[in-house]
Structures are given as C-alpha cells and as structure tokens.
C-alpha cells in the first residue's frame, strides 16, 4: 500500500516538476513571473492533440513537434508582448508591474483563443501505451511509467543544456548576475527569448502528459500554474534542482496525505509543507538568500 502510494506520488510529482521547471527557468533568468505559463501548458497540450488528429500520428511523434511549436510561440510572445514593455519602462518597479499585467492579459487571451479554436469539451490524448507493470506489490499502468520516463529524459536534457553548452552557460550567467552578463556583452534579449522557448517546450510536455492521464481542455492551465507557484517557492525561486525536488516532494505529500489522511484535504498538506519550509528556510529549499 505504502509503496503503491509512493509510486503514485512520483508520477504526480514528475508532472509537477516538469511544469515547475519551465516556470522557474523564466523567473531565474528574466525575473519574470509568467502568469500565462499555465495557458502555454494548455496550448501545448492542444498542439499535441491537434497534431495527432490532423496528421494521424503517434503521441511520441507529435509531442516533440508540438514542443518545438510551443517553444517558438513562447519566444514570439516574449518578443511581441514582453520585450517592448521591458524596454520602455525606466524603473524596475514600473517594469515589473507592467509585465505582471501583460502576462495576466496573455493568460486570458490564450485561454479564450483556445475556447474559440478548440471549444470547451475535454479531449483525451491516447498515448497508445497499454498494459500494466507490476514491480513487487506496486501495480501501475505502463502509461504512468512512461510519464516518469519522459520527465527523466527532459530533466537530463535540460541539465545537459544548462551545464554542457555555451548558451546554457550564458543563461546561467544572466540568471546569476545581469550586470556582469551585460559587461561581457551577453545579449540578454536573445538569451531570455531562448529561456522562454525552453520554458514553452517544458510546459508543452507537462500539459501533454497531463492530457494523457486526464484530458485536454481550455481551463486545464489554472491548477498547474498554481502548483508551479507553490513548488517554485517551496524549492527556491529560480532554482532548477529546487523545482525538481519540490515537484516530487509536493506530488508525494499530496498523494500520501490523500491516501492516509483525507483526499479532500490533500492540498492543505502541500501548503502546510510550504509554510514549514518558508519558516525554516525563507528562500526555499535550494534558494539563495537575498543579498
């Protein structure tokens, strides 16, 4: 029973971690809280559904294509909607407030666009993977195992991107010290656009995987955004390991609390854990204290 719940928690936590990663990357590099992030995730899921339907292709073919598409969309949204605001404001407070409003505006724009294009009826995504895996006492659909595997692959890919490539190094530099990055001539706009693209791809993967477990609909972006918020504060704003550990931890806490205490109150336990972390480590598990 316990092992089973832990396995369930890891599946849920994998999707949480994936959603939180894209959110935290943008915050870390650009100090932007992207309220439209949940909608990007939703659009990503719809991209996957639409590709599978229109071209009659497999989920595992459609997903990477959709990820590339959402990456492009996300970068374009940065250039069209956010960058002009950042350029035209002279104080950081003014810029921050305007960016919050713009991303909130994007939230509604994207959600309503999805309603207009795809309607409000929930659509399932067929992963095309059936069967059940039994490991000891733990029984799990193969589909759920695939979700965890996809998360693993994407986290590994992200790690290699951040720590083994030139642009990854520039990205970390911008996240750690914007002025230092400017002094050596790093082009913040391009790098932030790149971060938005990566964030969009992550969101697309998270949304599509959610779609295979539940369903795809225009309103699906809200809960993951909220969860990403909790996880990112839990793990440390802008921290990549924090998002992974935080996602898995919140997934486990919710599942275990839901199984052993009360399903209705499972979210309460996630927030209790958040409060505990904030009391003990105000910057989050992996956060840097503000200097």
């Amino acid at each position: 029973m316990l092992a089973q719940q832990i396995a369930n928690g890891i599946v849920l936590g994998s999707i949480y971690a994936l959603s939180a990663l894209g959110f935290t990357l943008v915050f870390g590099a650009a100090r932007i809280v992207n309220f439209a992030y949940g909608e990007i995730l939703m659009i990503g899921a719809f991209f996957t559904v639409a590709l599978m339907g229109a071209l009659d292709i497999d989920f595992f073919v459609a997903l990477p294509v959709a990820m590339v598409g959402v990456a492009a969309l996300s970068a374009v949204l940065f250039y069209v909607a956010l960058r002009p605001v950042m350029k035209s404001s002279h104080t950081s407070l003014q810029a921050e407030l305007q960016i919050i409003l713009v991303t909130l505006g994007l939230l509604y724009l994207l959600r309503e666009a999805a309603v207009l294009i795809w309607g409000t009826a929930p659509r399932p995504i067929e992963m095309g993977v059936d069967g059940i895996v039994e490991i000891g006492d733990v029984v799990m659909t193969t589909k759920r195992l695939v979700v965890v595997a996809v998360m693993g692959v994407l986290v590994l890919g992200l790690y290699l991107l951040l720590y083994r490539t030139r642009i990854g190094k520039a990205l970390r530099a911008i996240a750690q010290n914007r002025e230092g990055a400017a002094a050596i001539g790093l082009d913040a706009d391009r790098i932030i656009a790149f971060v938005f693209a990566i964030s969009g791809a992550m969101a697309c993967a998270a949304g599509s995987l959610l779609g295979t477990l539940y369903a795809v609909e225009p309103a699906m972006g809200g809960p993951p955004l909220l969860k990403a918020f909790v996880i990112v504060i839990f793990g440390g704003l802008g921290s990549v390991p924090g998002a992974i550990v935080g996602g898995l931890a919140i997934g486990l806490i919710e599942t275990l609390a839901g199984a052993y205490v009360s399903f209705a109150f499972k979210d309460v336990f996630a927030f209790l854990a958040l409060i505990a972390v904030l009391l003990l480590r105000p910057a989050g598990l992996f956060g840097r204290p503000a200097s």
């Binding site: 002279h90 104080t91 030139r166 190094k169 520039a170 970390r172 530099a173 750690q176 010290n177 002025e179 230092g180 990055a181 400017a182 002094a183 050596i184 001539g185 790093l186 082009d187 840097r288």
Partner: protein, 238 residues
C-alpha cells in the same frame, strides 16, 4: 582609439550626460574622475553599448559604434570591468573567465590568454575551481578584470575598481593596471579614488553633474587647487 562626441544619455526623463566629449588615444591611460552621480558609470555603460545615447556619437578606431549592440562592441575590442565587480557567484572562477571569451572562436589564443590572466593573478589559479561568490572583494575584482581581459580587449574600461578594497590591494591594482597598459591595452579608468587614478593616468577628465568640467594631464590635475579641493580632500587656497 576612442572618440566620444557630444554624447547625451538619459534614464527616462532624467538626463545623466549632457554633451560629453572625450577621446582616448591608443596606448594611453585616461581617467575620468568625479563625485558620485557625475555620470561616470553612465559614460562607460554607453560606450560599451549597455545604454543607448539620445544623441551624440561614439567612434572606435574610426568606426561609429554608438547604437550598436554590446555584443558587437565587445567583439570590436572593448571590455568593461563593471562597478561592483559583478562576477557570477555560483560559477567557478574558470567558468567566469571562460565567459569573458564568450564571443571568441580562436580557442588556441583563448587558452594562451587564460594562461596570461592566471600568470598576472596567481590567486585565481589557486581558486580556479572555487565559485566566484566565495572569493574576497579584492579577489573578485581580480576576477572581474581577468574576465574582461579574456575578450582580449584593445580598450579596457574599469569602473571604480578600487571601491571597497583595502589600501594595499588598491596599490596592487594600480600596478596591475600599469602592467596591462604596458602590455598594450589602452585603459579608460573611472574612479572616485582620484589620487590613485590621477597618478596612473596620462590624461584625465573631471566630470560633474553629467558634464566634463576640466581636462588635462594627470600631473596637471593633481596640482590643480580646485581639483585638490573637490576631489583630493585638500583645502581650497585661501
């Protein structure tokens, strides 16, 4: 090397530089001194393309660079050691230095330059695998200078390098700036520590409230009573 003519720069409605003109010849050490808020940092940030001027022009080796992106200006041989050092705290010293050479493709020469930086700053060699944030203030300043040198600049601009450093380290810094200059780098040094800067400099400019108010050789300005009174902590004559 560098020609700045009637440069105007503003942050929104606040004008930070009013018609600033100055020049730096190849091989010189030129310093800009002035009080806090005189526009010195703004000037350096505009030269290296972080800020865009409202009007005026900046020429580098005869080519107009004002309005270009900072990546282009770095590639044309300008490097900035920013005020407050701004090293990357959670990257190793090695990674910090590598980032200075971000736009270079000549990896053989980059390796040679890394060796040169580590020879000038032996402390960085000892700390190569340590994070930038774990270094002391003086060591971070060395790292910031080393990082700037990794782009192999013809014009090295230093913004308040002595800020917050112990006097012995400031002296060492002065020696290093001279060495870099002797090795071929043209230096534009912005300082509030006017005495150190004027001693180093071939020529100097004094800025106040966004304007150049005086200029001359380092020795002339060191001897100038009004400069002494305002910037060297001396007393005005009579």
């Amino acid at each position: 090397m560098l020609e700045v003519s009637v440069l105007r720069v503003a942050y929104g409605p606040i004008v930070a530089l009013h018609e600033v003109s100055l020049s730096v010849a190849a091989g010189e050490i030129v310093t800009v001194i002035g009080a806090n808020g005189a526009g010195k940092s703004t000037l350096l940030k505009t030269i290296c393309g972080i800020l865009a001027p409202l009007s005026g022009e900046i020429h580098l080796k005869g080519e107009r660079v004002s309005g270009r992106r900072s990546a282009d200006i770095v590639r044309r041989g300008v490097a900035l050691v920013p005020e407050g050092r701004h090293v990357f705290p959670e990257m190793t010293v090695r990674e910090n230095l590598d980032l200075g050479a971000y736009y270079r493709r000549d990896s053989g020469a980059v390796a040679a330059d890394l060796e040169r930086v580590l020879t000038i700053f032996p402390i960085l060699r000892e700390r190569l695998r340590q994070n930038g944030g774990s270094l002391s203030g003086g060591q971070q300043q060395m790292l910031a200078i080393g990082r700037a040198m990794m782009s192999r600049p013809e014009l090295l601009m230093l913004d308040e390098p002595s800020l917050g450093l112990a006097p012995a380290i400031v002296q060492q810094l002065g020696r290093i700036i001279r060495e870099l200059n002797a090795a071929g780098a043209t230096i534009l040094l912005v300082e509030q520590n006017a005495r150190m800067a004027l001693r180093l400099a071939d020529r100097a400019y004094v800025m106040a409230t966004g304007r150049v108010v005086r200029s001359g050789t380092g020795a002339e300005l060191l001897a100038d009573p009004s400069v002494q009174a305002s910037y060297l902590g001396g007393h005005p004559a009579a």
